[in-house]
């Protein structure tokens, strides 16, 4: 499972980098979005995946503590926070990119040079 996730993360990072190196600002945005997902998946995987014998980190009714083996809940909390932050930031980034497209009339990064004054 970890091995599979590692490959997925690698592919996501490669895709994100490829997209971010394009000249089209929409592709750069998509690259940023994919990059965020790759990072989230990396945090999730690095926290340890116990898929074979793992359970959701729920404490049974008659227990006071978590019974292992269970998935570590901390990386999940981190990823959740990161997703929420990423959502807000991406929404803002989309707005700025759209406004810039309106102002410059182009979706090419070369149009983003500082105009001579």
């Amino acid at each position: 499972m970890t091995f599979l996730l590692a490959i997925v993360i690698g592919v996501l990072y490669a895709t994100a980098m490829f997209l971010m190196l394009r000249r089209n600002i929409v592709k750069i945005l998509l690259g940023l979005a994919v990059l965020g997902q790759a990072g989230n998946l990396l945090v999730f995987t690095a926290g340890g995946v116990v898929a074979e014998r793992g359970q959701a980190p729920l404490i049974a009714a008659d227990e006071t503590v978590l019974t292992p083996p269970a998935q570590d809940p901390v990386p999940q909390a981190l990823v959740l926070t990161a997703i929420v932050i990423g959502f807000g930031v991406m929404a803002f980034a989309f707005t700025v990119f759209k406004q810039a497209y309106r102002a410059t009339g182009s979706d090419d990064v070369h149009a983003l040079r500082d105009p001579a004054r």
Binding site: L35, V43, A46, V89
Partner: protein, 601 residues
Amino acid sequence: MSPLGDLVVLPMLVPMATAIACLLVWRHGGLQRGLCVVGSVVHLAVGLRLLAGVLEHGVLATSVGDWPVPFGIVFAMDVLSAVMVVLTGIMATAVSIYAIADIDDERVRHGFCPVFQTLIMGVSGAFTTGDLFNLYVQFEVMLTSSFVLLALGSGRRQLVGAIKYVTLNLLASAIFLAAVGLLYGMTGTLNMADLSVALAGERARLAPEMVTMIGAMLIVAFGMKAAAFPMFFWLPASYHTPPAAVSAIFSGLLTKVGLYSLIRMFTLMFTVNLGWTHGLLLLLAGITMIVGVLGAVAQGEIRRLLSFQIVSHIGYILMGLGLMVALSPVAAPGGDPEAARAAVALALTGAVVYTMHHIVTATSLFLIAGTVERVGGTGRLERLGGLTRTVPALGVLYLVAALSLSGIPPFSGFWAKAALVKSGLELGQGAVVAAALVTGALTLYAMMRAWSEAFWKPAPPPEAGGVDERDRPGPMHPRERRLRLGPIVGLALLIVTIGLLPGPFFGLARRAADQLLDPASYVAAVRSIESPRPDWPEVRERLERRRAAEGGARGEGPDASAVEKDGRAADDAAEAPGAAADAAAAPVAVPESAPVPEVAP
């Protein structure tokens, strides 16, 4: 534990309350501006009180929600944090006063004041947090606010600048988050004090290349945010586009948060492979200085020139941190460790003084540049001129800040540079010292060229490119004059005070540096936070057992699990100082060539 400990969160809460108050009076722009100033002054007062508390009681720390350490989010304040918070308060006060004159009503209607305060909240939070993931969150609070401040007003130039800024900073955040995830996967903790012990412990020593790789990721992420070479180009591409008040607070504080994080990470946590990580930082410092100042020399617009100067002078602060390389056992095999340690302490002291000096000077220069643009009608140096006659006071203030930036006595920059150069020479790092001196000379050249262009030469006639009489903005109203020049005069006085009375500032920086070099007090303060909640011994016990079982299953042998247990046992407050001292001593005691036990796949 001092009763002040719980107040460590105040530097975050005050700006948050101010931002909320500003939102409540959304329709009243004038009131919002007033609240913004009042909030900043209260923030400064809180910062000063906490600084006094830290000097009196040592490191202050609190665990939010009273969760037992290391499970809760910890806020901790040592001398460096406190100094940074105080500087944040001073800059916020100066800039919020200046903003009354500089920021137009349109921007205030769209929420300049609350966003400015959330920026201060994020910056203060980043300076005080003791939790790595919380640092990421604070960075995002700060970045999101800065995105809005940068784009607010939506001029074409601003949007174009904002795209570069947003993209690069999001990339840096993603790398930072990945590093946090890997670090958690490796150590099982996010608490910085806990990480400090874990990374110096046996388990981390089993995988030094992993620690170094995560360290490298953090250098990339924070280096980008601090605008160090090679990822600095977003800064000069964006800092000159928003109103001067915004670029002033950015230039003073935002890159410093990146630098602060680098200093925190690479003194508290990543001291295992000093030769590699700090050697890299030192190399980057030298290149950053030279590349930045060469960029500044080539610029023809005042705020672009200053942006490159910021990049360049980030290098000096990095140099102070990078000089810690001398503590590596490989760097000076035959040297005198005591002398090296003293010189490194001086280097870190220099870095802290330089940070103080640079925050004040950079903010002041950007405020001056904004006033130059306001009076002269343009920021292009060849079109400006004759400002010594129109606003003589501004010429003097610019000279004070510019000479201070170049390191000319009796201004603040001189002493900071002197300390860095002296320690660099003592440690035999001739190359970076040469880079620092050359950069100082080129800075003087670039700043004086701007002075003679904008202030000294007569204003060029319109046919030679000068600003037309009709386009020239009117002279400043007395009230506007007070609001613009008042904060600049205050900052100039601070620059002169640091220059003429460096003693107390060096004393403060020295205490900060001593704490940085010996993380034991930080670790002990965090670990001794008392929690009224039960300590859940059974949770801890199970965690230990699970870890031990995992260690065995992964083939790390009995060694790893034994050490793990050791590390957990050190959670006990009574044992903490001893364990922490071990942590501090470990990087020096371990030779780089320590045999690494075979790890089965």
